[in-house]
Symmetry: C2
Subunit: 131 residues, 2 copies
């Protein structure tokens, strides 16, 4: 059985694959039933259909690819894992934004799901996307 950190990394790879396909349905399906996305430059987004719409707005804004680099995964109490990491978002070959994220993962029916998802830019001037 893969460690929790490996399971999370695999989920992130799956997330990026869906992201590159601009597949909002598949991205939203990776979130928990009561997930919240907390994007820079916009209010908190709750519920799968709104989360799907949010990511679709990011794709429409011209974001084509992303990289996620996990720094740490803390398993707490068996069903919760807190991940921090760094991200890069690309608009074709250009870096649109570069920053850090914190994801609270929740295990639902044996699957790790993004439950709280918050990030911000580490660049001095922020690129607001999807707002």
């Amino acid at each position: 059985m893969a460690s929790v950190a490996e399971q999370i990394r695999n989920k992130n790879a799956e997330f990026i694959e869906a992201f590159k396909r601009k597949d909002g349905v598949a991205v939203a399906a990776m979130y928990s039933t009561s997930a919240k996305v907390m994007p820079p430059g916009a209010e908190t987004v709750e519920g799968k259909s709104k989360i799907q719409a949010f990511w679709e707005s990011v794709f429409r804004a011209g974001i084509t690819d992303a990289k996620l680099d996990t720094i740490e995964v803390d398993l707490i109490g068996g069903y919760t894992a807190i991940e921090t990491g760094k991200f890069v978002m690309y608009a074709n070959k250009d870096v649109a934004d570069r920053g850090k994220y914190l994801v609270v993962w929740r295990n639902e029916d044996g699957q790790w799901k993004l439950h709280r998802d918050v990030w911000n830019s580490s660049m001095a001037k922020m690129a607001t996307v999807g707002a």
Copy 2:
């Protein structure tokens, strides 16, 4: 005994009092021994002395007051609480920034300490402070 949510709210009140006094030492003392602050527009800040310097840079940038409004507190596994909420930062009477935050609190020696602290602006144009 106060509920965990009440204990966290009390800690936030203490945080804001230290913040208004521009007391970087007192603010930094509220963080855990291995805390990370993840501010918008800058890299992750680790360790109490760097966290103190970070908040002092925010005070020097002209931020004079803040409000924290807890939305939820989830206690997980006894020693970890995940709080989400909304914040406002003020430069005298002006709103310098308005957004949302997620804090992972860790109980160290019976005291709740900020362990991971991440926030971003909900305003379409971000106010970068303290970078």
